[in-house]
């Protein structure tokens, strides 16, 4: 057991650090939940991609550097320590791409991944529906067979990034006969352009009014067979591999929290440090939480490297980081005092609003706790 990075990992860290020092914007980019900010972030994705830093863990043929999970974690640490902007392409990179690697065709990977890596095509996720949130198997949007493809209809909602994104991916009911006992049967996973005929995008303002997500109204939108992922009807199984990624370590790398906790400590010292012990304890808890999450992730990475797989344990991860993220930002706002109320008072306010969504998306924390209790502790399935 050790925490030592290899010489190769150290060299990779130095190379990443040097590149980031020369490229990370000196001023924070405008919020990626605005049109202006979305464009600025898209341009940043392109700059990253030009030197193969946008998707370091992907194979080289798709724009990556083919590095393993430890180097990916190293890159993420350096990225956030350098003040790298939030990634507007993360839905595609973290949710769709792993699915394409596992279930896509060579043609799909060659066509979809490089423009995803460069920010040329930004992806939105289209999982939820008005009556179907955590209970994804209850979704009702349909895919009907037609010449050379499918016609999709229905309504998706809470689609992150969809206000300004180019394409979306989601699940559709391709077998209209729903077996009440097995509602996850007969779903198909497919991709579609947000500017296609029959698509209406209605941006939804989140708590701070920024259009971080949107409603999608779909009226017989044509999707060619080439844009179906895996076998029609197998969408549930395919999607589950994606949501596992979302809850697991790829969505929230520890580097982000380590960097944010460091920033909190600097701010606490700038405000005079030890005076208020209640606040001091919360700052310390932010440091402890970031370290715990980092080490927990390293342990998981070590397990991956040893050939193990992670299953329901990803639910521990999801509940931890989502609640930690809120506590971290609440502490920062409390430290700011009256100025913490200012919506444009800096990254803390934007980060706070963003953090509030954590326990809600990617499967609510209530559902995650059920998974932990039933699959990790072996408690009986029971009344919800």
């Amino acid at each position: 057991m050790d925490l030592d990075f290899t010489a190769g990992e150290g060299e990779f860290r130095q190379r990443a650090r040097a590149w980031l020092a020369g490229h990370v914007p000196g001023q924070p980019l405008p919020s990626l939940e605005t049109r202006e900010g979305f464009a600025a972030h898209r341009a940043w994705e392109g700059e990253l991609a030009a030197d193969r830093w946008s998707v370091v863990s992907w194979p080289e043929e798709y724009g990556g550097q083919g590095v393993d999970i430890v180097k990916w974690l190293v890159f993420e640490e350096e990225y956030f320590a350098a003040g790298g902007p939030g990634r507007v392409s993360q839905n595609g990179i973290n949710l769709l791409a792993p699915t394409l690697f596992d279930f896509g065709t060579d043609e799909q990977r060659a066509r979809i991944l490089p423009p995803m890596a460069s920010g040329e095509v930004i992806w939105a996720q289209a999982w939820s529906e008005p009556e179907s949130g955590s209970d994804l198997a209850s979704l009702r949007s349909t895919a009907r067979r037609t010449e050379g493809g499918w016609l999709i209809s229905g309504q998706k909602t809470w689609s992150s990034r969809a206000a300004f994104a180019d394409r979306a991916f989601g699940l559709f009911r391709s077998d209209p006969a729903v077996d009440a006992a097995k509602p996850h049967r007969g779903l198909t996973y497919l991709m579609f352009p947000l500017d296609a005929d029959g698509v209406t995008v209605r941006p939804i303002g989140r708590l701070d009014g920024k259009p971080a997500f949107a409603e999608l109204f779909l009226d017989d939108v044509f999707v060619p067979d080439d844009d179906v992922i895996g076998e029609p009807g197998q969408g549930w199984r395919i999607a589950m591999s994606t949501t596992g990624n979302e809850r697991g370590l790829t969505l929230r790398s520890p580097g982000r929290f380590v960097a944010t906790a460091d920033r909190l400590v600097r701010q606490w010292r700038a405000h005079g440090g030890p005076g208020d012990t209640a606040l001091r304890d919360r700052v310390a808890d932010a440091v402890i939480g970031a370290r715990a999450y980092q080490l927990f992730t390293w342990a998981n990475a070590s397990r991956f490297a040893a050939g193990e797989t992670i299953g329901a344990e990803s639910s521990l991860n999801k509940v931890f980081w989502s609640e930690y993220d809120i506590a971290l930002h609440e502490t920062a706002l409390d430290l700011l005092g009256a100025e913490g109320e200012l919506a444009d008072g800096g990254d803390w306010a934007e980060g706070y609003v963003f953090s509030l969504a954590g326990p809600i998306y990617a499967g609510t924390n209530e559902i995650q706790r059920d998974i932990i209790a039933e699959r990790l502790l072996g408690l009986p399935k029971g009344r919800r």
Partner: protein, 331 residues
């Protein structure tokens, strides 16, 4: 970077677990609380045979070398089995004497470490970093105290006071007694030993929390109300899910701290493990109901220890201060 216990370390945990399961540690703990140390000493002897007290003693003093990861592994098991006695203090005393030898004062190490490593000396230890009381001073055969840069063999102890955890017997050591060493090296060795004590206590707390969770999960599966196991109720499931999250995120802090042995890392592990174990205790009591509130039920051994370990060798507030200040004697 390979942040996983190796096969040997896991095997060490398994063998301690099997040995302690066979040793009926709850009975030994109850006897210890009543002042009958014989069953506890028998467990102690088996722990010594397994090498537990040699884990913070260099090989030249008949130890196994300084092995903080193995120490953490062992103390998780000691916590899971509610082992009585000054186990933390004995290992920390080993670290103190080893460090003192490393700083040039080898005489106390030569004299005391072999019997400490072999388990013959049941050792308690009072340090400025650890609060006013020594644990189990009446059961210990060796009582060390370091204050004001002086390490002494205490000449005796004051009256034994009741702890919230009846198994932990607390007493102040007499400040006089034979002087073993003095000077800045004693202060430095004392700080070093306090980190070992805090690390071992964090591990013990994690083990206590794991035992509480295991017992509670088993209980809520078989206990029925309204015609169904209470473990099927979402309120119960969610509470236990939170307990597991607390424990599983304290665990990597513990092993990370064992690898670095830096004071802020140890303090972070102690704070997290203490809170996680205490959260487990609160949930365990609530979900057991009145049976959990009784002294006769074995759960009480872990319930009260979770609270006591929270403040032993670094209170939550002190640990958090150390996390931010960067070390003992700083800020």
């Amino acid at each position: 970077m390979r942040f996983l216990l190796d096969d040997e370390q896991r095997e060490f945990a398994r063998s301690l677990d099997a040995m302690l399961t066979a040793a009926d540690t709850p009975a030994a703990a109850r006897a210890w609380a009543a002042g009958d140390f014989a069953p506890g000493r028998a467990v102690w002897g088996r722990l010594a045979d397994a090498g537990v007290f040699a884990l913070a003693v260099p090989e030249e003093h008949e130890g196994m070398g300084l092995l903080p990861v193995e120490t953490a592994v062992a103390f998780v098991e000691l916590g899971r089995h509610a082992v009585p006695g000054p186990v933390v203090e004995t290992v920390a005393a080993g670290a103190l004497l080893s460090r003192l030898a490393g700083l040039g004062d080898a005489a106390p190490a030569k004299r005391l470490l072999p019997s400490l490593a072999s388990g013959d000396a049941v050792t308690t230890l009072a340090l400025p970093e650890g609060g006013p009381f020594a644990l189990d001073a009446d059961a210990a055969t060796l009582r060390l105290t370091a204050t004001g840069g002086e390490l002494r063999l205490a000449s005796g102890h004051a009256r034994v006071e009741r702890s919230l955890d009846p198994v932990r017997r607390l007493a102040r050591l007499r400040p006089d007694g034979e002087l073993l060493a003095s000077g800045p090296s004693v202060t430095e060795a004392s700080r070093y030993a306090a980190d070992w004590a805090s690390l071992a206590t964090a591990a013990q707390a994690l083990g206590v929390g794991l035992a509480l969770l295991d017992r509670t999960v088993a209980y809520v599966k078989q206990r029925t109300q309204f015609g169904t196991p209470i473990g099927g109720f979402q309120a119960v499931k969610h509470r236990l899910a939170d307990v597991l999250i607390g424990l599983e995120f304290a665990r990597p802090l513990l092993y990370g701290a064992a690898l670095t042995l830096k004071t802020p890392d140890v303090a972070a592990a102690k704070a997290a493990a203490g809170e996680a174990a205490y959260g487990a205790a609160r949930a365990a009591l609530q979900l057991h109901g009145a049976i959990g509130y009784t002294a006769e039920y074995d759960l009480s051994l872990w319930l009260t220890k979770a609270r006591a370990l929270r403040s032993a060798w670094g209170s939550p507030g002190e640990c958090r201060r150390l996390v931010l200040s960067g070390g003992r004697g700083v800020g």
